[in-house]
């Protein structure tokens, strides 16, 4: 009986042919905009703020073609210019759509009004493209759901609302917490959501579908930080040789190291090393020594990237050694006082929440965001958390939680075993070896360097024969405590799509955050930090002032 019913319901979702009940779901990040229609399992498009690959190749001088303006081949007297002020100002450099210090003067001397104007200009261009180039729908017909980070600047939200209402005339917008949406895609309502994006990593505990926003913790160690670190590594450690004369080494010219180039390297060559090298054995280990350790331990290959050297007017080869590819992401796990490591940020959140919530939260972590796409970063993070709990005196009071540390989208050992024996499971080939081996390794309390050397030898073979049973037993134990352990679906959804997918889910069920109607839009948007929604609508002036106060408060949290 139930089957036909569900089928009918499915049909009712699918047959909205002319349907305008599907909403537009937008996840506007600082580097990528994810857009699509609600009720669909994946975003339709991912719009990048970076230069396209062709543009990058043109820029690096690798394409021996005529210079292109936007969209057409042009001669010297072409009247056509870049159709955008911003691109004009920085024709060869991309910029993030927004930054978190939106209400301050930036490095290029733009005042806050100018920055908001630029933001508005760019947003309206991108969102116009979203509607008329990618989604091909009339903006006037469909409601919009926007996945918002709880700490997104209110000015950004207001600008998004302004563009959508005034330029595109969307009927209604609702801002919905992106962390909560991401969590919904796991089928649970309790979890610690770690959004590792471009500008910052934010850790938000959600219990019983209540986002515990006061306990949110952030660190700048995220995509942008990684790019900066990578830039430094490339500059210092990677000499460029000429194609014609390989022995002629020189340092990489600064002009090549653009954000788009770094993004290319980052997204195509970097990964998180499965091995932890212990940095904290002595406090005064300098960076060079650490790098040497990394180099000695690396088993990854060196990659040669062709670049154009403008000074020499020649092609050069940038050799990126394996250890940089493995270890560039190390900067996310090594923290200092200014910027906590991702691990410490997570544990700090855990330490802050009421003690009865700690175990349920740490046993259901969810890593989302663009930087979480970095291969192997999740299992590495798991190891780091376990190691910190065991060996870092700072987190000694949490050490009891070490058995419970688990990501929501990690399969349990039983599931894995069941899957690998089953025929025709979905996913990668002889996969489990590495992660299992990595996880087992983290059980060794503190890894000295010699230890990890051994491990590395072992790991290079990736023999599945390492000590898996131990982990499995432990997980069984922790699993048996609850009656029904959470059954994970594994990494079905990509971490960078999860909050969008949550938005799509919620949109298809006609539930979402508070809706702002176009008729009621007065320039302000509701925010968790501001006063109640009704107050915003009725007492506009009071709401704006209180929103300022509240946003100031939000920062002080």
């Amino acid at each position: 009986m139930t089957l036909p019913l569900t089928k009918i319901r499915d049909l009712s979702f699918k047959t909205s042919i002319y349907g305008i009940e599907e909403r537009i779901v937008l996840d506007i990040g600082s580097c990528y905009i994810k857009c699509g229609l609600s009720g669909e399992a994946r975003p339709r498009h991912f719009i990048s703020m970076f230069l396209s690959d062709e543009a990058l190749d043109n820029y690096l001088g690798l394409n021996p073609v005529r210079p292109m303006h936007f969209g057409h081949d042009c001669n010297e007297f072409c009247n056509e210019r870049a159709n955008h002020v911003f691109r004009e100002a920085h024709p060869l450099e991309y910029a993030e759509l927004y930054e978190l210090d939106l209400m301050r003067k930036d490095g290029q001397g733009h005042s806050e009004e100018e920055r908001l104007m630029i933001l508005e200009e760019r947003l309206s261009e991108y969102l116009y493209d979203v509607y008329f180039k990618h989604l091909l729908t009339d903006p006037k017909q469909r409601k919009v759901i926007i996945c918002e980070s709880p700490l997104a600047p209110i000015a950004l939200k207001q600008t998004i609302a302004k563009v959508l209402f005034e330029k595109l005339q969307a009927p209604s917008i609702s801002f919905t917490n992106s962390h909560l949406l991401a969590l919904l895609t796991t089928g649970t309502a309790t979890g610690l959501v770690i959004d590792c994006g471009h500008l910052e990593t934010s850790v938000l505990p959600i219990y019983s579908s209540r986002p515990l926003t006061p306990f949110i913790r952030t660190t700048p160690r995220a995509g942008k930080f990684l790019s900066t670190h990578l830039k430094q590594l490339l500059r210092e450690k990677c000499p460029v040789s000429l194609v014609d004369n390989p022995t002629d080494l020189r340092t990489i010219p600064e002009s090549i190291l653009t954000s788009a180039f770094l993004e290319t390297i980052k997204t195509r060559l970097l990964f998180a090393s499965p091995l932890i090298v212990n940095a904290r054995s002595g406090d005064n280990i300098n960076e060079d020594e650490m790098n040497n350790n990394y180099r000695d331990l690396s088993s990854s290959t060196e990659v040669h990237v062709e670049v154009w050297l403008p000074e020499e007017q020649a092609r050069g080869i940038l050799a990126i050694p394996g250890w940089i590819r493995e270890r560039a992401s190390e900067c996310l796990f090594n923290g200092d006082e200014d910027a906590l490591s991702v691990t410490d940020t997570i544990l700090e959140t855990i330490a802050k929440v009421p003690s009865d919530l700690r175990r349920p939260l740490i046993s259901s972590m969810l890593l989302i965001g663009g930087t979480a796409q970095l291969p192997n970063i999740q299992s590495r993070l798991l190891q780091e958390i376990r190691r910190s709990l065991q060996s870092n005196p700072k987190w000694a009071k949490l050490a009891g939680l070490v058995d419970s540390v688990r990501f929501l989208d990690d399969l349990t050992a039983e599931d894995k075993a069941a899957l690998s024996t089953a025929v025709g499971f979905v996913g990668g080939g002889a996969a489990p070896a590495i992660t299992a081996a990595g996880a087992s390794r983290s059980n060794t309390p503190s890894l000295s360097r010699s230890h990890s050397m051994l491990d590395q030898d072992e790991g290079s073979g990736f023999g599945p024969g390492s000590a898996i049973p131990g982990t499995r037993d432990r997980e069984k134990k922790s699993g048996s405590k609850e009656k029904k352990p959470y059954q994970s679906s594994g990494k079905v959804f990509m971490p960078n799509c999860r909050s969008w997918i949550g938005g799509s889910l919620v949109g298809s069920l006609k539930v979402s955050g508070p809706e702002i109607l176009r008729e009621n839009f007065n320039g302000t948007v509701p925010d968790w930090s501001t006063a109640s929604l009704s107050a915003t609508q009725t007492h506009q002036d009071a709401a704006t002032t209180s929103s300022m106060v509240a946003s100031a408060l939000a920062i002080s949290y």
Partner: protein, 573 residues
């Protein structure tokens, strides 16, 4: 090649351009930017006066000549000692200006002048991108017009896709159009030729057709994708797509959540409340309540106390193995090309694989034809024919056909503090003769010295016959005294003397207004004219309604920004 050799850090050399600015993008219209409108208010009042007179008194050209002279002097003075002249005129003009600004047109003209008096390129576009609304008599750009979708079509097979099936097909072509996963060019369906012999070993049941990219030679056989028949490939691919784990899991999640919402439709339902009204609750109070409710949970009380605090147990539809292939690929990669680019990856959003072997061909994304509407009056500016193959427009009110087209006919290299002569050609696309007046904006930064030799002139109407004429046509008798550089068929060239004051790109803001006589459209003409607020149109329409009942004189004013390339530093340095 020029730009290729230029060092990337500096970018290519600035090229000459002519940009027009739509009124909606004028920086002055926004309340905040007071800096640009400030100097504009202090424009020399003589200039505005003679401009106004020139509009009203068409016939008295000798007097105009005199005043032109006066204006030229003024401009010269302006250019040499810009600051002093501005402050002087502001003092002088303010009291005298007040009583004379009685007429609306001049005021409007001044408003337009003040609104865009800057060399900032912001919001300006080449003429080819602009429209001209003929009921508002204003330039319209993409920002002050509203787009509407006319029809959907596939850019590859040019088939119209009915609106009904667009959504179902996810805005992709449902025919045999695919794009290459590697280079995004069009794939073609190729059959293995059994006569060729090499592929004879392939069993017939395996499928004979595959997709091939003619650009990068990607071949769908390389990912074991072959088809038995060459048609309906999209449906086959889509079927495979529908069983992919993420879609199955999504369906399960939707059912799960729907159940949850149905069971806990009470207002106290926490997901509802956290989505809908969590914003309202004071954060501190709400934390304590959460904590207390949890402790009660742990204390063994009923879990469902709060009306379904947590979700029911969820069983996933699929379980996906951890994917470590990316890591494996990455550890042993040698060449950058062994890893997919972001662009390739982002077309495969559910997997985003690192190795190119796992990319799948994609159906080609549809495109739309759009019509554009003026936001002020709602009239359609551009409306294409509904068929995909047709490139004609039913309505085409583009600015190129309505507004004098300015081109740079000749430009000398710019050197700082050296006078260089520039020839601007104004071409009239209208079938009426137009009177043009040009004025240099003094709000430019930096304020280059500009002298316009003939700030007012006329351009003969456009005539199709001239398309076939070769060479220039001598100026028509009677307009010789306009003292322009050159007057040909439907274009007039004028001379500008420019003295750049600083090195860098030379951008000159020019305020252009043109007047033309047009047939009044009996009923609709006059109300639309009176309703326009920003365009100078009223004066003559009101003054001479009886004498020329059929014709009405209209004036349209707008800002242009003309770039003349980079100015070199002085030769001495």
């Amino acid at each position: 090649m020029l730009a290729l050799n230029a060092p990337p850090g500096q970018g290519p050399a600035q090229q000459p351009f002519v940009h027009y600015r739509c009124l909606c993008c004028s920086p002055g219209t926004k309340p905040k930017s007071s800096t640009s409108s400030e100097p504009a208010e202090t424009t020399p009042h003589e200039t505005t006066k003679d401009k106004d007179q020139q509009q009203r008194e068409e016939g008295r050209e000798e007097e105009e000549e005199e005043e032109e002279g006066k204006k030229e002097k003024d401009v010269q003075q302006d250019s040499s000692t810009a600051l002093i002249s501005i402050t002087k005129t502001s003092e002088a003009s303010h009291p005298t200006d007040e009583p004379t600004t009685g007429g609306l047109p001049r005021k409007v003209m001044e408003e337009i002048f003040a609104s865009g008096n800057t060399s900032d390129l912001h919001g300006s576009q080449p003429l080819s991108r602009l429209y001209f609304c003929d009921s508002c008599d204003e330039i319209r750009c993409s920002k002050c017009s509203q787009d509407e979708i006319v029809c959907y079509f596939c850019p590859n097979c040019l088939f119209d896709v009915p609106t009904a099936s667009v959504k179902l097909e996810k805005h992709k072509c449902s025919r045999n159009c695919f794009e290459c996963p590697i280079c995004q060019n069009t794939l073609s369906v190729v059959s293995e030729d059994p006569d060729a012999g090499q592929f004879a070993a392939v069993p017939p049941a395996y499928g004979q057709f595959y997709l091939l990219c003619h650009i990068c030679h990607w071949n769908s056989q390389s990912i074991n994708m072959t088809f038995e028949k060459p048609t309906g490939l999209a449906a086959q691919l889509q079927k495979a797509d529908e069983t992919s784990p993420d879609i199955m899991e999504f369906g399960r999640l939707k059912d799960h959540l729907e159940k949850h919402f149905r069971n806990s439709a009470k207002p106290s339902s926490s997901l509802h409340s956290s989505l809908l009204s969590s914003i309202q609750t004071g954060s501190l109070r709400y934390v304590s309540s959460t904590a207390s409710s949890t402790s009660s949970n742990i204390g063994g009380l009923s879990h469902r106390r709060g009306g379904g605090d947590d979700f029911a147990h969820y069983t996933p539809a699929v379980q996906v193995m951890d994917d470590t292939e990316n890591l494996d690929t990455l550890m042993s990669v040698i060449n950058l090309n062994q890893i997919t680019t972001m662009k390739q990856r982002l077309r495969e959003l559910h997997k985003q694989p690192y190795s190119p072997e796992r990319l799948q061909p994609k159906r080609i994304h549809l495109r739309i034809k759009k019509s554009r509407r003026c936001r002020t009056c709602g009239h359609i500016l551009v409306n294409p024919e509904q068929k995909a193959q047709s490139i004609r427009f039913k309505i085409k009110l583009i600015a190129l056909n309505q507004i004098p087209n300015i081109t740079i006919a000749n430009v000398q290299p710019m050197i700082v503090q050296t006078l260089s002569r520039v020839i601007l050609r104004f071409t009239n696309p209208r079938h009426e003769e137009v009177q043009v007046s040009v004025r240099y904006g003094d709000g430019a930064q930096p304020h280059h010295g500009v002298h316009i030799h003939s700030p007012t002139f006329s351009i003969l109407p456009y005539n199709e016959v001239w398309e076939y004429e070769v060479g220039t046509i001598a100026a028509a008798p009677g307009s010789v005294q306009e003292n322009v550089y050159e007057k040909t068929a439907n274009s007039t060239s004028i001379v500008l003397d420019i003295t750049p004051v600083a090195a860098g790109e030379v951008k000159i803001p020019l305020f252009v207004s043109f007047t033309f006589k047009t047939k009044v459209r009996s009923e609709t003409g006059s109300p639309s004219l009176t309703s326009t607020q920003l365009v100078v149109s009223g004066a003559s329409a009101k003054d001479i309604p009886a004498s020329d009942a059929d014709f009405v004189e209209k004036t349209v004013a707008f800002w242009t920004i003309i770039g003349f390339g980079d100015a070199l530093p002085t030769l001495a340095t």
